[in-house]
């Protein structure tokens, strides 16, 4: 029997494409699933290229805003417009309604359309209090937006929230047969011509093939764009490299055409440019060897088509949360600790072009490393630049530093955070801890343990104080203010980006979701949550003890090895 799922995705093109991974995973489990999506009208066109969306429903946001804000129109028309858009959805019986975007509007609409038992993600209950379908929806809505060491990728979180395993294999994007033929033909012609030139230059009769590197130029936010001077230099390097050939990928608009013209001034108008809309773009991406792109919709589409990607993560690009996520892809970024944390992601906070340390040579080297991973360890990057590779383990996507400058403390915190999150979710897996011990200097690990223990002490102190004040409120409401002050101090730790921030963020989420029927019930519920938090903090203590034991073992083993070598040398004498 057909089951019906509605995905509410009121975000941009990239997010709609990214939802394809989840959609395909759902279909892989149950091919009879009928999946429909609610989007804003300005982003509808992308849904037509996603094979497993049977129907897209739209909200004409611009029209609603005009109807409401223009004094010429009765307010009734904006109400009617939204009502009419949603009424067919409200009347349907959905097996699941997934709040994919998790913002205010989508959460209200989810609350409007979903029932008690078919909602996945956040919604509001009949008291207008936030409600989480499961703990993964708390991770999605609260942890990923608050915690800078992002222990889990966005897509993995959503898969866990919905309860499906990530399907492997290429995703189902509809391509146009005519575009496929034209794109393949044109790009193969370039490939053949340049490959012949390469073979002639080498005096070879072999099968060397030139790699076509697509460069995506412009994003919707200036701070994410690769700076013009870097792009010019990079193009020069690629054109000088006989094994690689650059093509510029642009959307059909004047801004991007003007940008290409500007670039072409430096190259005698010899640059190859491919202009394509969303209908043709999949055909183009399927026929290049590598895409170099900032955090954009084109990158997300390349991921779906399994086109290799080197992502240049600049400005407000949230790579730890929503970076390219196919195994083997690379991400180039300014050193993580130099990127500003704001509004749910690492990046710049003013939307303007930001000074980056990434140079053309870094991007060129990253491209070279992609095609020859043996060069990972010998490639040098500019100072304060890191190169990460996408890998996967049993828990999902993980970004491992492979080259450049890396802050050991930051990387250890990332692994520790990941392990802590999965432990709190009841998943026992020590691979992150083992990696931490094996990959990072013991001294750095010991330092993190020390800092984390100090943080645990502070969190415990704040927690116990809050508990004490709460218990006192049972004696009289005059202790209420003391309790609130203590609670405030505890909740400040949510933004501390320390290891205890993870369980405190969960505590805060559960606190906001409390829907007690009386003041007494409220006190009792809060008390229960505080004891849960205490148990979680103790879990962290156990984790830190485990790490400490493992580090000590390693230090001992290293000492013994050193002693053995010293003794051997002495015996030799």
């Amino acid at each position: 029997m057909e089951k019906n799922i509605l995905i509410i995705n009121l975000k941009r093109f990239g997010d709609i494409y990214q939802a394809t991974q989840l959609i395909d995973s759902i279909i892989a489990v149950d091919p009879l699933m009928n999946i429909e999506m609610l989007v804003y009208s300005e982003f509808e066109k992308v849904t037509k290229t996603i094979q497993n969306i049977s129907k897209a429903h739209i909200i004409d946001r611009e029209k609603i805003i005009s109807l409401k804000n223009n004094p010429v129109y009765s307010d009734a028309f904006s109400v009617n417009e939204l009502f009419v858009a949603l009424e067919p959805l409200r009347k349907r019986k959905w097996d699941k309604v997934i709040n994919y975007s998790g913002d205010n509007v989508s959460t209200y609409i989810t609350s409007y359309l979903a029932t008690e038992d078919n909602c996945l993600g956040v919604s509001f209950n009949e008291k207008n209090i936030i409600k989480y379908s499961n703990r993964w929806s708390m991770v999605f809505n609260d942890l990923l937006t608050s915690y800078k060491y992002t222990p889990i990728n966005f897509s993995d979180t959503l898969h866990n929230m919905v309860g499906v395993k990530r399907a492997e294999g290429a995703n189902h994007i509809i391509t146009n047969e005519k575009h496929n033929i034209v794109a393949a033909d044109n790009l193969n012609r370039i490939r053949q011509k340049e490959s012949e030139t390469l073979r002639r230059a080498k005096g070879s009769t072999g099968t060397e093939t030139v790699k076509i590197v697509g460069l995506q130029l412009i994003t919707s936010q200036a701070d994410k764009n690769i700076p013009l001077n870097v792009m010019i230099e990079l193009l020069g390097m690629l054109l000088d490299d006989p094994q690689k050939y650059p093509v510029l990928l642009i959307a059909p608009n004047e801004t991007e055409r003007r940008y290409v013209n500007r670039l072409n001034e430096y190259f005698d108008n010899k640059l190859v440019t491919i202009e394509s809309d969303f209908v043709a773009l999949p055909s183009v991406l399927s026929n290049i060897d590598l895409l170099v792109a900032p955090d954009t919709v084109v990158k997300h589409l390349a991921d779906l088509l399994k086109t290799p990607v080197v992502e240049v993560s600049l400005g407000s690009g949230p790579f730890l949360k929503q970076g390219t996520n196919n195994v083997g892809n690379l991400i180039l970024t300014d050193l993580l600790e130099t990127r500003v944390w704001f509004d749910g992601q690492i990046g710049s906070n003013d939307g303007k072009s930001k000074q980056t340390n990434i140079k053309a040579e870094d991007i060129f080297n990253a491209i070279t490393v992609y095609f020859n991973s043996a060069l990972e360890t010998t490639t040098t990057l500019s100072s304060k630049i890191s190169l990460y590779r996408v890998e996967k383990d049993s828990k999902g996507t993980i970004y491992r530093p492979v080259s450049g400058d890396v802050n050991a403390s930051v990387e250890i915190m990332r692994l520790l955070s990941r392990h802590t999150l999965f432990t709190l979710m009841g998943i026992k897996d020590f691979s992150d801890l083992e990696e931490m011990i094996a990959s990072w200097p013991s001294a750095a690990v010991v330092e993190i343990i020390k800092t984390s223990r100090d943080n645990v002490v502070l969190a415990t102190k704040l927690l116990l104080n809050t508990l004490r004040c709460l218990i006192k409120t049972k004696e009289g409401s005059r202790y209420g203010q003391a309790f609130l002050n203590a609670l405030d101090e505890l909740l400040v730790e949510c933004d501390a980006h320390q290891i205890t921030s993870i369980p405190i963020i969960f505590f805060r989420a559960k606190l906001e979701a409390l829907s007690s029927s009386s003041a007494e019930q409220n006190i009792s519920d809060v008390e229960t949550l505080l004891y849960d938090l205490k148990a979680n903090v103790q879990m962290i203590i156990a984790i830190l003890n485990t790490i400490e034991n493992k580090v000590m073992e390693r230090i001992r083993a290293e000492k013994e090895k050193k002693n053995d070598s010293t003794n051997e040398a002495a015996d030799g004498n």
Partner: protein, 228 residues
């Protein structure tokens, strides 16, 4: 009522014929087209409007006359956009609409005519509202505008009835009307839906619809990523 502006009364209505054979309506002694070369006049009129029209595919025309300028405008828009254009005409005098329709004076199906004696009624016409929301270029047929200047000025300066009763009366579904009446009629026009709903101890599904509406309209088209 503030917006109750009617078309001027017709004291006289004649039809004359231009040198070139076209019929020219004369209302209250005002010739709505040139008595000599109405087609040439219409084409000159369109040429003058090109800057106002710019790249817009939708044009709101004030004044129908006998449609010569409408045809000229349609011809121009077709040459620029092919079949992808729309013209809506506002005309206070129903007699003109009847004549144009009966005599098939408009030679394209891309034109819709909206006529009402009362300006306010026009803004209850959903088809016209759906057109206006596309922000068409607005162009006035000079002689029509001069003949009914008060009417057209009232049209251009129209302000919707923002009273709770006015809004409730225009809601499209009975459940919406009942809900609106129960929740918003005593609150005046100043408070947002959110301010009212967030004070409730228990909310109904329709409350979420209004909360979503408030958020969409307050955030505008730029902001998309605010989490709950």
């Amino acid at each position: 009522m503030k917006n109750f502006v009617l078309a001027p009364p017709i004291d006289s209505f004649q039809i004359k014929y231009a040198k070139t054979g076209q019929a020219i309506p004369v209302i209250n002694d005002v010739h709505l087209h040139s008595i000599y070369y109405p087609i040439r006049e219409a084409e000159a009129f369109v040429t003058k409007q090109k800057t106002i029209i710019g790249e817009k595919k939708q044009v709101l025309l004030l004044g129908l006359g006998y449609g010569y300028h409408v045809n000229a405008l349609a011809k121009y828009l077709f040459s620029s956009f092919g079949d992808d254009f729309e013209i809506c005409v506002i005309e206070p005098f129903e007699q003109l609409v009847v004549d144009v329709t009966t005599l098939s004076l408009i030679n394209t199906d891309k034109v819709k005519i909206f006529s009402s004696n009362n300006v306010a009624d026009l803004f209850d016409n959903l088809e016209l509202i759906n057109f206006l929301v596309k922000r068409p270029a607005v162009v006035a047929h000079p002689s029509s505008f001069n003949l009914s200047s008060k009417y057209f000025k009232a049209f251009l300066e129209f302000k919707a009835d923002k009273s709770a009763e006015g809004i409730s009366a225009r809601l499209c579904d009975e459940s919406l009307k009942v809900f609106y009446h129960q929740n918003f009629t005593s609150s005046g026009q100043q408070r947002s839906y959110s301010e009212i709903i967030n004070k409730k101890t228990k909310v109904a599904p329709l409350d979420f619809l209004f909360l979503a509406l408030d958020k969409i309209t307050s955030e505008g088209t730029k902001k998309l990523t605010e989490q709950v």
